[in-house]
């Protein structure tokens, strides 16, 4: 459905996107992962024909973005990072405008607006002026705008940014619901968002493609070392943090223990395993044996920075290893 070959985009002297190639099959949800400034938005803007590429080619739904932009635009729904809303209009007339712009025939327009409103759960806001809607609602109106012409491909740029947790969950469920009918490519810099929605992940950093992989494979690779967060409390009186740390370091498989904070007689540690070891059972046992009160033991959420460091380091290794 989407085919990108050797795509590059240069702004003046900076190379925003550097020779990226990937393919997305019909019906897939693909996460586009990268820190801010990685080139996600630029790539999406090229796919939606907002920007022309400096080099390389991209095909969407079988049409070239440079030579057949009108055909591509007919088949793409795009939600930019800031939803492109006319805040003076009410939701219904806004959607009617977008619908007509996307080439929906007058006879079908009402039905398409109804459907888009229903799917994005904004029916009760149809007559409301967009400027008076909350951020979450605006995001959904933005999504309704993107799907109104039933496009083959949906391009969503940071669809959950700036939303509160409840709205994030709602938006994710909504995107999942849309998945069957559309090929979706969505960008984000938050890992859980990808975890819960996407089947495949494209990781880019500094304009370069770091990896393309299925989610399971990627998770597997990242779980090379386990990182746990542990909070314990002394059973009788406050806990001696330094002593506890020494004790934890002796647990089999533990590579590193870092004290994060002590307060109210509690201590919080970050514990990292040596590569390939699973240590949560051992750590739990050690806590029980030491007679501490367990407050919390959970796997640390891996932040993207680490993932990137890992992935880019991996890339260098394979290169120097002579595989490529």
């Amino acid at each position: 459905m989407i085919k990108v070959e050797g795509l590059s985009k240069r702004y003046g002297r900076t190379l925003a996107v550097d020779n990226i190639s990937f393919e997305v099959q019909k019906g897939q949800i693909v996460g586009f992962l990268g820190p801010n400034g990685a080139g996600k938005t630029t790539t999406m803007r090229i796919l939606t024909c907002f920007l022309p590429p400096t080099a390389g080619a991209a095909q969407v739904a079988g049409y070239d973005v440079v030579n057949q932009p009108l055909e591509v635009k007919k088949r793409v729904g795009y939600l930019p990072e800031n939803p492109p809303l006319y805040t003076e209009l009410d939701v219904e007339s806004y959607l009617a405008f977008v619908g007509k712009l996307k080439g929906i025939r007058r006879a079908d327009l009402k039905a398409r607006i109804d459907l888009a409103c229903e799917r994005c759960a904004i029916e009760e806001a149809r007559k409301t002026i967009i400027g008076k809607l909350s951020k979450g609602y605006r995001q959904r109106v933005g999504l309704a705008q993107a799907i109104i012409h039933n496009p083959d491909v949906l391009v969503l740029d940071e669809p959950t940014s700036g939303l509160d947790p409840k709205q994030i969950i709602e938006t994710r469920t909504l995107i999942k619901k849309l998945a069957g009918d559309h090929t979706i490519i969505l960008s984000t810099h938050i890992l859980p968002a990808v975890e819960q929605v996407c089947e495949r992940v494209i990781v880019i950093n500094k304009g370069k493609l770091v990896t393309i992989d299925s989610l399971e494979n990627l998770m597997q690779r990242m779980r090379g070392a386990e990182v746990l967060l542990l909070t314990v409390e002394g059973r009788d009186g406050p806990l001696d943090a330094a002593q506890a740390q020494r004790r934890l370091e002796q647990v089999a498989g533990v590579a590193r223990v870092a004290l994060q904070e002590t307060a109210n007689g509690r201590a919080a540690f970050e514990i990292q395993s040596s590569p390939g070891r699973s240590i949560h059972t051992e750590v739990a046992r050690a806590v029980l044996e030491a007679g501490w009160q367990l407050q919390e033991l959970r796997p640390a959420a891996r932040n993207l920075e680490e993932v990137f460091l890992e992935l880019t380091a991996e890339q260098k290794e394979t290169r120097s290893g002579g595989d490529q």
Binding site: Y78, P84, L89, S93, V98, L101
Partner: protein, 255 residues
């Protein structure tokens, strides 16, 4: 063509759901109403005077009231067109809706024409407000309507010109106020350029006078439909819209 119509309707809707249109309509009604009152009062008092002096020549409403009033509207046009055109593209750039327009299956030309025609329609409705005043003259006298029609055609062309320049300026910034200021500066310059012709007849002075938008309106205000002036206005509009198109295209390459 359908896309032009869609965008035209959206533009007008946004003018009329925001205070811009109402402000401009009210402003025109008040200012032009004032001009009209003054012009007719002067006409009446002059008329009385000439009757007392025993002049046999009847005074012509077209010459004494309508022509100066048309010139006045043309000057009001200089002030209102920047207010109409400032938001055309600057607002879309600021709000990010330009991304919607440029990723929809419409051509740049359709966007530009729709927007320009929307702005021109609002401007025409301002002219309509002024025409209500002139209409009153038909109750009390028999002014010649053909020069009025030609005059209004000239006003529409002049407005189209300034709006085309305004549309171009509006593509160059995200800030509506900046767009309005620069457009106003240009409009004003294009008006006063003509003044050099009153003391200088060299080629450069004639060129300056020629590009002055208001010079070309003078004939229209007298009810003279000169193809030379029509061509001037039409080519000016074409130039403005052409620059708008180029500027919009360059956005894609720079943005």
């Amino acid at each position: 063509m359908r896309n032009v119509w869609t965008i035209w309707r959206k533009e007008l809707k946004i003018y009329f759901v925001s205070p811009i249109a109402y402000h401009l309509l009210a402003f025109t009604a008040v200012v032009f109403g004032f001009f009209f009152t003054v012009a007719t009062a002067i006409f009446v008092s002059r008329g009385m005077q000439s009757m007392r002096m025993g002049s046999m020549m009847p005074m012509d409403v077209n010459e004494w009231v309508i022509r100066p009033l048309l010139m006045n509207i043309s000057v009001i046009g200089l002030f209102v067109t920047p207010m109409i055109s400032m938001r055309l593209f600057a607002e879309e750039k600021f709000a990010g809706t330009i991304e919607l327009l440029m990723t929809s299956p419409v051509r740049d030309l359709e966007v530009i024409l729709g927007k320009w025609l929307g702005a021109l329609t609002l401007y025409a409705s301002l002219l309509g407000v002024s025409a209500v005043n002139l209409g009153l003259l038909f109750f009390y006298g028999r002014p010649d309507w053909k020069p009025i029609l030609v005059g209004y055609l000239g006003l529409l062309l002049q407005g189209g010109c300034l709006l085309a320049i305004g549309a171009f300026i509006s593509t160059t910034t995200r800030n509506q106020i900046v767009a309005a200021l620069i457009t106003f500066d240009l409009c004003l310059l294009l008006w006063v350029f003509d003044w050099v012709s009153s003391y200088e007849t060299a080629a450069w002075a004639r060129v300056m006078s020629y590009v002055s938008v208001l010079t070309h309106f003078e004939a229209f205000s007298k009810g003279v439909l000169d193809s030379k002036d029509v061509v001037f206005y039409l080519s000016f509009i074409f130039l403005g819209l052409f620059l708008t198109g180029r500027s919009l295209e360059s956005l894609r390459w720079r943005a």
